[in-house]
C-alpha cells in the first residue's frame, strides 16, 4: 500500500528563528498588528510503501530521527499518514 506522510520540522522553541522574526515584522508592517510571533518551519511530504498505517508511521519516525530533522535544534511532528493506493491507481 502506498502512504503519504506529512511531516512538519520546526526549530525548537529555544532556538532563535530570525526568519520567523522577519516574517513577523513583515506582517505587522502590512497592518496585522495583532501578530505576536511567527516561527518558520518545513513541510516534508514522504510517499512510501508500507503494510499498514502503523508501519508507515514507524518508518517515517525513523526517517525523522536519522535525517529529516537535526535533533540539536529541531523538533518534528507527523501531521497525517494516509493511504493513497486508490488515488494512485486512479491517476
Amino acid at each position: 500500500m502506498i502512504f503519504i506522510a506529512d511531516v512538519v520540522v520546526h526549530l525548537k522553541p529555544v532556538v532563535n528563528d530570525p526568519q520567523g522574526l522577519v516574517v513577523r515584522d513583515g506582517l505587522r508592517r502590512l497592518g496585522f498588528a495583532d501578530v505576536h510571533g511567527v516561527r518558520v518551519g518545513k513541510h516534508i511530504q514522504v510517499e512510501l510503501d508500507a503494510g499498514d498505517e502503523q508501519g508507515a508511521r514507524a518508518a517515517v519516525e525513523s526517517m525523522c530521527d536519522r535525517l529529516l530533522r537535526n535533533p540539536v535544534i529541531e523538533d518534528y511532528r507527523i501531521d497525517a499518514v494516509r493511504a493513497v493506493a486508490e488515488a494512485a491507481a486512479a491517476s
Binding site: 532556538v15 532563535n16 530570525p18 535525517l67 529529516l68 537535526n70 540539536v72 535544534i73
Partner: protein
C-alpha cells in the same frame, strides 16, 4: 605531509584548500565523496561549499557519504579532520562535533574579513599560535550561527575546546564582532580528543598577502609541524 581534501558535489573551496596546502610546501590529494579511501592522508580537510546543494540542512546529506564513514573511522583512531565552513556543518551533522550551525542572525550571507582570537593552542591546528593571537581570516556563509545548549557551551569552554572566537581587530570579543550571531562568539571548536576542528571562517582564503592576509597559513603550518612524517600525532599535542 599529506592533506586529503574531501570533494562532495557542490563543494566549492576544494581547489582553494589544495592551493593553500601546496603553497605551504605540503601535498594535497583530492578525496572523492563516493570513495572510502583516504589515500594516505595525514589530515582530512572538509572544505566549504554547498555539499549536495545543502538541501534539507547544510551538511545533512554529506554526512552519509561513503567518504564520511572513512573519516569517522580515521578520527576515532586519532586522525586529524579539519572542517571549514560547510565542512564544519558536516562535522556537526555527523555528530563528530556538538551543536549546530543555523541561519545567520542577520539573515544575510556574509562574505567579509573577520578577526579570530586563538583561544587555545592545545590542538594540532593552533599549535604554532599563541593564545590571544588575532588572525584575520574571512567568512563566507549564510548559515554559520553556532548554537548549542548552555551545558554544552560550558563544557566546551571548560575543556578548552573553543579554538576561535570572533573578535574586533584589536582582539575584543564584543558580540557585535561576530558576523553571524554565534553563541558566545564561537567561530571554531574541537572534539573532546582535540583532533577534529570545525570552523566557519576560511583560512585557505587567507594564505597569501595578495589576498589581504596570510594568517590562514599559520594553521596549515601548525598542522604540518604537529605531525611527524608518519602521520602520528606529535607528543606535544593531545
Amino acid at each position: 605531509m599529506r592533506f586529503g581534501i574531501a570533494v562532495f558535489p557542490g563543494t566549492w573551496s576544494d581547489r582553494d584548500c589544495a592551493h593553500a596546502v601546496e603553497l605551504s610546501g605540503n601535498e594535497a590529494v583530492m578525496l572523492w565523496h563516493k570513495d572510502r579511501d583516504l589515500r594516505g592522508a595525514d589530515c582530512v580537510m572538509l572544505p566549504g561549499g554547498f555539499s549536495y546543494g545543502d538541501y534539507l540542512r547544510a551538511g545533512a546529506v554529506a554526512r552519509f557519504a561513503p567518504l564520511m564513514e572513512a573519516v569517522v573511522e580515521f578520527t576515532e583512531g586519532g586522525g586529524l579532520a579539519w572542517g571549514i565552513c560547510n565542512g564544519f556543518q558536516v562535522l556537526c551533522e555527523a555528530h563528530l562535533l556538538p551543536g549546530a550551525l543555523t541561519r545567520n542572525a542577520s539573515l544575510q550571507f556574509r562574505c567579509e574579513p573577520s578577526w579570530l582570537r586563538v583561544e587555545t593552542d592545545s590542538c594540532a591546528f593552533t599549535a604554532s599560535c599563541r593564545v590571544g593571537d588575532v588572525l584575520q581570516i574571512p567568512v563566507s556563509h549564510g548559515e554559520g550561527r553556532y548554537v548549542a545548549d548552555e551545558a554544552t557551551l560550558d563544557e566546551l569552554e571548560r575543556d578548552e575546546r573553543v579554538v576561535f572566537r570572533y573578535v574586533t581587530p584589536a582582539g575584543l570579543a564584543v558580540g557585535a564582532a561576530t558576523p553571524n550571531g554565534s553563541m558566545r562568539d564561537i567561530a571554531g571548536i574541537v572534539n573532546p580528543a582535540h583532533n577534529v576542528l570545525g570552523m566557519m571562517p576560511h583560512p585557505e582564503r587567507a594564505c597569501e598577502p595578495l589576498l589581504g592576509s596570510a594568517d590562514g597559513m599559520r594553521l596549515i603550518t601548525s598542522v604540518a609541524r604537529s605531525l611527524r612524517r608518519d602521520g602520528a600525532l606529535a607528543a606535544s599535542t593531545r
